[in-house]
């Protein structure tokens, strides 16, 4: 399988300089002031312990001179973390979820899992992948970012 992939790799075309994407992970830090107000900020994921929340972010930009169409970004949800409901963000995208390892994706409200032959709505902790789909083209020079929050189990 891998050898076949090596045979098929072509010399990079001009479009290979097209989209550039960078993934990062940050830790969610909640600071509580004296009066009880909470401030939420992001910091480096240098001390992450069970119960802490992390934010996975994916920045992308179109560095070519041609528009990119039908852009689809997929990020897994690692097994050590659990997706936090309603936290997936990505302006201009449609967000879909998978609970079967990335084989099929559905809207959150239609994501089903099968337990003992019975179909149930998937829990946040059962989500394995998240997909962001952009119906509009990403113009040359344009950029965007998507992300989601998860809690370390």
């Amino acid at each position: 399988m891998f050898a076949l992939g090596a045979l098929l790799s072509l010399a990079p075309s001009a479009a290979a300089d097209g989209l550039v994407a960078t993934q990062s992970v940050e830790r969610v830090i909640v600071e509580t002031a004296e009066d009880g107000t909470e401030t939420v900020r992001f910091g480096p994921a240098d001390t992450v312990a069970p119960g802490d929340e992390v934010f996975y972010n994916l920045d992308f930009s179109n560095q070519s001179d041609e528009a990119a169409a039908n852009v689809q970004l997929v990020m897994p949800v690692p097994s050590a973390v659990a997706y936090i409901e309603n936290s997936a963000t990505g302006d201009g995208s449609e967000i879909a979820f998978s609970a079967d390892g990335g084989k099929t994706f559905s809207q959150r409200g239609q994501l089903k899992v099968s337990i003992d032959g019975e179909e149930r709505l998937a829990k946040a902790s059962q989500i394995t992948h998240i997909r962001w789909s952009f119906s509009d083209d990403i113009a040359p020079g344009a950029s965007g970012d998507v992300g989601y929050l998860a809690v370390l189990k």
Binding site: M1, F2, L4, G5, A6, L8, S9, L10, P12, A15, A16, G18, L19, V20, A21, T22, Q23, S24, V25, R27, P44, A45, D46, T47, V48, A49, P50, G51, V54, Y56, L58, F60, S64, E66, A67, A68, A69, N70, V71, Q72, L73, V74, M75, P76, P78, A80, V81, I138, L152, K153
Partner: protein
């Protein structure tokens, strides 16, 4: 005429009453002096019973936390088209080859750090003990609520303002080897108390896994002079120590050292760093310091008996000495007069029932025994009451009235009433 009352307990404790002088006329409620040799103790329902293992703990469920040192990786894929043509997938996955993909960067990763959290909860406080009780045991559960192996050291903190402190405390801990949920039925492991903050590689427990609960027992001997309702309050403090081996990262390298928090400024990945998450226990320690504690109490309960004996002249010329009501004040103790002795025992303890009370009364030779009865004692266990035959001349034979195996609840009064005729 002299009276000797002896009250004895089945298990060799003895009360001794000094001799009581009584008047021939009127009532003398002079209380006897009681020389307390030891006290009589009733076992109150001390339920070790079936331990509810997590009772009282704030963290009642197994935590199933991700192991410290776990490296959490994530990747992405980006697919798109240009002018209707599918472009090579962009990914940062350097481990799995996607055919034709372009790799940008590498996996995003972070290391799961080491959560240090523990909970100490007392199991059987207040523990009711008798004065002179030996090996009175206060039990605690200690749970590793973190995500890596830990060892623990223990120290006992005095609580000011209690009534007494036992002279020495011994600590042992128990690991639930047979897995039945109760550590205390497994073998005890001795451990030496180590003051909080003192480094020690020898006075620590074996490695305790995440979610594991051990039993810790504090035993003491209670002084024989401890008084009814007095308490000894103490706090058991547990301090987190580095174990022999971490679950994921092999030997800790500093077994027994006080576990310290890392400042987290150095690395995203690599070895796990320590993060304190413990709460504030009952003692002097605070939260997020690797320490937790709970308070427990020895509560002394002893019955306290006081006895008295009175004598009344029932009638100078009795009709029926056994049943005549006590007459007025101008009755005389002359031959033929009917007299009534009443031995009265009161349990002035706060809570403890006095058990196995034995009272023996030998009537003077100058009377003839008529009748005797008892009242006020606990019906169960039923005491044994013996008396001489009616009309026994106590000068010719020894007249012994005796009560044995009697019980008296706290606040109760038991009596023996004896009627006799003056010879």
């Amino acid at each position: 005429m002299n009276l000797l009352i002896s009250i004895s307990r089945l298990l060799s404790f003895k009360w001794q009453l000094q001799r009581v002088n009584f008047l021939r006329k009127g009532k003398d409620m002079r209380k006897c002096e009681i020389q307390k040799k030891k006290t009589i103790f009733s076992k109150l329902a001390a339920t070790a019973g079936a331990l509810a293992l997590f009772a009282g703990s704030a963290h009642a469920q197994a935590n199933n936390f991700t192991d410290a040192g776990t490296n959490v990786e994530n990747t992405f894929t980006l697919d798109y088209e240009v002018a209707g043509t599918e472009q090579p997938t962009i990914t940062n996955d350097t481990d799995t080859t996607i055919p034709g993909a372009i790799v940008q960067g590498s996996e995003t990763e972070f290391t799961v750090d080491r959560l240090i959290d523990l909970v100490v909860t007392q199991q059987n406080s207040p523990l009711t003990v008798a004065p002179a009780a030996q090996d009175a045991a206060l039990d605690f559960l200690v749970t590793n609520e973190g995500n890596d192996n830990q060892s623990y050291s223990f120290s006992i903190e005095d609580v000011a303002g209690d009534d007494f402190d036992a002279a020495t405390y011994t600590i042992e801990y128990f690991v639930d080897v047979d897995g039945n949920g109760d550590p205390f039925n497994d073998p005890a492991i001795a451990i030496v108390e180590t003051a909080t903050g003192v480094g020690s590689t020898t006075n620590v427990t074996s490695d305790i896994a995440p979610d594991q609960t051990i039993g810790v027992r504090v035993t003491a001997d209670i002084s024989g002079s401890a008084e009814d309702t007095h308490v000894d309050d103490l706090v058991l403090v547990a301090q987190t120590r580095d174990p022999e081996d971490w679950a994921q990262e092999g030997a800790s390298g500093s077994q027994g050292d006080i576990t310290e928090e890392d400042d987290g400024t150095n690395t995203d990945t690599g070895i796990a760093e320590n993060v304190f998450a413990d709460g504030d226990g009952a003692g002097a320690e605070g939260d997020t310091d690797g320490l937790h504690s709970d308070q427990a109490q020895y509560l002394v309960a002893s019955p306290d008996l006081s006895a008295s004996k009175t004598v009344d002249i029932v009638a100078t010329e009795p009709v029926n000495c056994a049943t005549d009501a006590i007459g007025g004040t101008d009755q005389y103790s002359v031959p033929g007069a009917c007299v009534e002795y009443v031995i009265s025992v009161e349990n002035t303890g706060a809570t403890a029932t006095a058990e196995a009370i034995d009272i023996t009364d030998v009537l003077p030779a100058e009377v003839t025994f008529v009748a005797a009865s008892i009242n006020g004692w606990e019906a169960a266990p039923a005491p044994t009451f013996t008396q001489p035959a009616a009309s026994t001349d106590c000068g010719a034979a020894t007249c012994t009235v005796s009560l044995s195996g009697a019980s008296l609840v706290a606040g109760g009064t038991g009596t023996i009433t004896i009627r006799a005729l003056v010879n």
